[in-house]
Symmetry: D2
């Protein structure tokens, strides 16, 4: 298994195809726009060698029997899902933010592991064999794989084939003997700069007319005819500066737009091509583990917010006891998304392919919590931390070190610690609550509204009605006709 150093080396060997601010990023491991997310991902590798983290971050391959990164494993049991949640919480603890170049990819190939199994069984395709071979190689190479789901989509009320522009969802434009050619884009893709390969998922809800859009495959990040543009984050220019205004060097998050200008994918890396009936299943297999495990992510960042808030309080001269009720609420929020993820995992079922699929109802309920509770945690963090950390109330690191007036700023920033330490804590709070450390827990992995649709689909109103009627001894049938006024 690779060290962090080996991992960075593997990134450096790739062909540059990532841009930001109109500039080609030559080396993602040192460019200020990408080096923090790479450093965060590198922590996974190095932590895997530590005794305290080993069992969380690695596991025995169900393919080869060898110890591999958990991010490269098939989730085969409730225990694997529990470990998955611990892993995500740990990585947020260690990086302060998302190591998104791994988890969507991890979910994606697990989803397609199950989906290809079904397709092969139902349709006689050979996709499962292909993904098996690819995953074995991926484990051997110990690579980092990001996952790409979101199409540009265009007008949300229209299907892909009904859009003004046929490219608004990624699609096959040509099938060759040895592979396919695709055109379109995937957008808002997390952690691409830290990845060796990118696993592409189809969208969902496709009908026959949209069958060219039902595609899944995996590519090297630096494949020919793929252009990647990094998005901007709040305060991202600060990454180009020196000093502590971006307070964290060992973690960071990126999102990118992937522009496919007729990219060729060889057959052995294609896992769906036209089987539109399976696109929704693939997505359902994806969201179950994703929306369960994201509860570990936000709990892990919430842990850091508790620490940052208490640290700020102490820096201000106040004991955390003053804020006891608020801190308890933060802890409740953290453990609720974590616990619900555990429960979703535990109440899951094994798919015939061997993949463990968490309970959809609880996973999707957790997604709704994840779109709400961390926002309260952030607000409480700002509440405890005071005006200095809330927003826009602290001079820049450059000003704090200014030869003319920096000394005065430090003098006035001191409280129950030095002015510089207090400023660093304030920047950490800002980074966690308003800055570059903020991951997209609202819409990442789909919107809370889409989760509510699943919740409704997975609950049977008639079951509840029967319980009520039995209890109150009600026998009359009550139907709702389509009334007209």
């Amino acid at each position: 298994m690779k060290t962090g150093k080996d991992y960075k080396e593997s990134l450096r060997k790739m062909k540059p195809n990532i841009y930001k601010f109109g500039e080609l990023i030559k080396d993602v491991t040192i460019h200020p726009a990408t080096k923090r997310t790479v450093a965060g991902h590198a922590q996974i590798f190095d932590a895997s060698f530590k005794d305290e983290y080993k069992d969380i971050l690695t596991t025995k391959s169900s393919i080869s029997g060898k110890q591999v990164s958990r991010y490269l494993s098939i989730i085969t049991s409730a225990q694997d899902m529990i470990a998955n949640l611990h892993m995500k919480r740990l990585m947020f603890n260690l990086t302060g933010t998302c190591t998104g170049g791994r988890c969507a990819g991890f979910n994606a190939f697990n989803s397609m592991w199950a989906t290809t199994f079904d397709m092969d069984k139902d349709l006689g395709t050979v996709y499962h064999k292909r993904i098996h071979n690819w995953l074995k190689s991926a484990q051997d190479r110990d690579i980092t794989i990001s996952g790409a789901l979101t199409d540009p989509k265009g007008n949300r009320t229209k299907s892909p084939s009904n859009q003004k522009d046929p490219d608004l969802c990624l699609h096959v434009i040509e099938k060759k003997d040895n592979g396919i050619i695709v055109r379109g884009a995937k957008v808002m893709i997390c952690g691409v700069a830290a990845a060796n390969e990118i696993f592409i998922m189809p969208g969902s809800g496709y009908k026959e007319v949209d069958k060219d859009y039902a595609i899944s495959f995996v590519i090297p990040r630096d494949i020919k005819n793929l252009t990647i543009v990094e998005t901007r984050r709040p305060s991202d220019n600060r990454e180009l500066e020196n000093g502590f205004d971006i307070p964290v060097d060992i973690g960071g998050i990126t999102q990118a737009y992937l522009l496919f200008e007729d990219v060729f994918i060889p057959n052995e890396r294609v896992f769906m091509c036209g089987e539109f009936d399976y696109s929704t299943k693939a997505i359902m297999n994806f969201i179950a583990p994703y929306r369960a495990a994201i509860g570990g992510c936000v709990a892990g960042q919430g842990d850091v917010m508790v620490g940052a808030a208490v640290l700020m309080a102490r820096a201000n001269g106040l004991s955390e006891k003053v804020f006891r009720e608020k801190i308890t609420q933060m802890i409740i929020n953290n453990e609720t998304t974590f616990g619900m993820g555990i429960a979703a995992g535990v109440l899951g079922k094994k798919h015939p392919s061997g993949v463990w699929i968490p309970d959809q109802l609880l996973s999707n309920i957790n997604k709704v919590h994840v779109a709400k509770l961390p926002y309260e945690t952030k607000r409480i963090t700002q509440d405890i931390a005071g005006g200095i950390a809330e927003t826009g109330c602290l001079p820049s690191c450059k000003d704090i070190n200014d030869p003319k007036y920096g000394k005065l700023l430090k003098k006035y920033l001191q409280a129950n610690c030095s002015g510089e330490t207090r400023a660093k804590i304030a920047r950490l709070v800002e980074w966690l609550t308003l800055g570059a450390g903020v991951p997209g827990c609202m819409h990442g992995g789909g919107s809370p509204d889409s989760a509510k649709l699943v919740i409704n689909a997975k609950t049977d109103i008639n079951h509840y009605i029967k319980l009520a009627k039995r209890l109150a001894n009600i026998t009359e049938d009550i139907n709702i006709e389509k009334n007209k006024k």
Copy 2:
């Protein structure tokens, strides 16, 4: 194993010692104040024979290897805790309310199973052997065991031995060769009228000076010198009437005051007597499974509320789609307390005695949710149901059937169903949200504030601080001195 009929027979054979409204209840199975809770408990017995419920309600005894009621089993694994949550949810589904004559007893002997094990090991006592023998017999007899924790306590800021009246917590007043004599009371004890025996737990936090209060034992409900007074519930007089104003016949809840006027307990039924150091441990062993599993209880009642609310909407002529957002919220609330209970169970640990102890942090967080979310669910139920079911807006069953004007009331109560059916549904909603079906999920098993104390005790602020300092590269120590202004 007993049938519901056998169970009722066993209750009828006991000596009457339960009073309400100044009257001695001769037969708890037919007296209107107690027959509904007995009917609810009887459902457990009958459902245990049904294929669909068998695995939930019964399990293999870890003592005898025989199939026994789960309520008489030792919880030995995460799977047992999951089954426990399913059992409680099921029983609320089937009775609409609490079958409290079993669950506190179930938790109590599990707690004392572990606590006696520790005492015997540490102190050389023989309590564990005693409880083993008693439980074996209890399984053989297939009895119903309620549990009693709460002492009257008097002034909450004073310890038992410091109260004006020494009896405000239950205590030993004499030790004999063959047993002990106790005086005092246990109050607000659930389901006693439906029980064959009562398992007594000590209070917590006792010091050496309070050692006479550190007692645990089990008694037949009709033991000599024990007087039981049932409390009143909202609208309990309606139970004395005919008709549907108490809409549920097959479930009910009772709470009682147990008055111990120098009751003799033989040694073989005494499991703690003076070992004050173990009283807090006993309580901690009790609350972990209790506060985890109560999430199943309120989810089970919440299921019925979803059904009742939708039924009322349909009776009013409205599709549940109108209330989609609200119903989704009810489902989220239900599954959150259920899921958190599952997670607390799963993340637990095995005690050397063989008892599985759920995770204290998650159990206690669930208690906080249980003291909040069901209240929102009730409010939404009333919101959907409309004024008729909210409070005090429906004539009595007697008036609805009045020979003079009953026909008119029925005429005006009709909507998308008959007036009588609509009235029954409204009564069900009232019963669930304001009436006799309301269990004490706020303070049952301890208050939410006590749960917050455990949450704080189980979380280490310094852990969070370390995470934050590492991330922002902060090395300065920040201590809070005892400042003076």
Copy 3:
């Protein structure tokens, strides 16, 4: 102006036509089902003579210039609305619950004062003159007037004329020279037992086909062919007992079904008859002051809940400081509904008839708060008060005074006060949060969903869009077509 004694005398003179539990109530001032609400209303009269309350409860008549009960006045200014809110808060403070026999009537004639003014102006009717004469007489006679809005309605998705039964909304069945004959019912009408007259409002949203349903008039409560059936409330049988299980003697709430079996209304008491276009306006004029002022009501009951919760805490031996955060939240909830009512009043406008109409947007927003915040306040009250007051955990007053075991119960109920006092406080909390003191703040004056419809109707999305476009310098038009998939 009448004293409380005079007021009761006026009720005693009326013909009995109110039933409950199949029994005719001969004297509402002494019958246990009605005497508490009468006592509550009598407090209004007696308090009006006290210096501290005089300015709140009385005002100068805009008709006669004489000092009259505020409940008989026309609301002519923002100051009148503020006084209205203070009055409602005061009456909840003094009675613990709703004096609903006055406020709906007060709102009803104010609404129809404006609506008749418009009808006369637009249509040449003489309704305004009639209501003027009637109100002058009502002020002279210092009568109590309840208001009746809610029709049985039947299937909610059908209009009155489209129901299976034409009587499901109150309607004219015959017009005579000197008056009209009406048939149908009004349901869930508050405080009728405490009223001398009942003011009838039309429903809303009526079209031409429903014009016979567009009626408004005022009747003596004991008018011929009117049968009144009182509904039941939680724990209402306790009112028939002695002792403190209904803890409040000086306040109470009732709701009734009014059954109109061809009741004749003389013309001078008819204020709308067929003018369907004005039915919605009448309702809008009603809900604006009602939904503003109800914020005072729930604040007034919330004040009592703060007191009861703190009293219970102290009885348990605990200082209220332990619950500081919770009490602050209760106060915030109380003052929010009160403050929003004040704001709605202040931002209102004067109608040409002289009536002050509060701001619809803020009034209806307050209705949404009123359907939510008091429920949190109740929950917190139970949280602070502990298990004894939550639900069903206290023996009956009869048992507490039982000759055999009552002494023991009192002994064990004592804490930081006598057992009896502690029991009384617990009953007060139960009465306020689960019992007969609970007014219908969810659906009283219409449902929160109906309030949301008004909120949406009163806000212009395009206004907000324009603000956003101007700021971001966006000029492109973005329209939503009716898309097809």
Copy 4:
């Protein structure tokens, strides 16, 4: 009265003493770090000439009788407070953010108008005459006045004179015949770059030993020995770029640190110097109008968020009807802080000096709402807007216009409008919810915890207890002794 152009001219005439990123800002009206806040403040001047805004933004001076900016007026009535709330909401509507260079100053001199009146009356000082003269001149000159309250404070549990460094609160270091010399700092001061003068308030809670800290005065922004350092805001470097990544040109917010290195203040501009007893009064007079009116501010920004969210939904092809429930909640949040501010204003009292002081209880409750509701509104805005606007999911303006791949980005950003328009809307949402448009509503004008202290101080628990005892007929006194365990 000045035009926007005149106003900018007045700023340009001042001596540069403001720094950011180590650089002296020569002209605040064109420097990218300050020009947006200046543009926002300039809108006040220009809007004052428009008929639709004139009555909101200007009023008759109670000193001269001339029409002046409302920001330069004494608040003398409830109507003035209502107009104040309308003004703040309007300015947020027009600028999208805070015009903080005016409102703290406005509150500050109103507070000191009352406080100096009391001091002169009680102590025979001449402060009120001085402030009268200064305000008259300020009105004549139509200047912009920011207000400065917050001292660096150091360790929060120590008083100013007890800090390690005596300068951690601003204090007098020398009194001269013609004035005083002050040293220290004021921090996190809003809108200084847009102001002509700065009004300094004392801190609160000062004792005799801290009397040198009890000072109030007003200074030109460019006074000698004053150095101003602007703080950084989220994404503030974008202000230095071209394009729409900062989407708003006509509004902006700044906060600054004011460093007083022995600044001389002539006597006629000193309004408190040593009268420590009046420092708390001054602050109370400040927070009442401030915490009432801030409800208008956040409502005004909330209005823009409604518009931006709906615009984004439409851009995505979705009707706002899909999000009806969420938009209604946003409107409720907006109107609640607005309405509570109105109510606080209306329930206020006139101070003998002529200043209208809003109700402290409601003002401080509104502060608690302001620290909570806008955060929910932001979350909902992100929820509706989708991933593109949530955080870090949109390429930079520079990339969108890149010659190589910009065309592709625009192609994939298009939906129900052009890609560029959609990107602009997304940036507006980001700016409002995570960016430079975010004002400090949590701690601006003091923390929500400090507001809760005032809420508690302004409510009398015994009043509530009396109501409860009277109702339940409880006569026993229940006192809490200082118990010992």
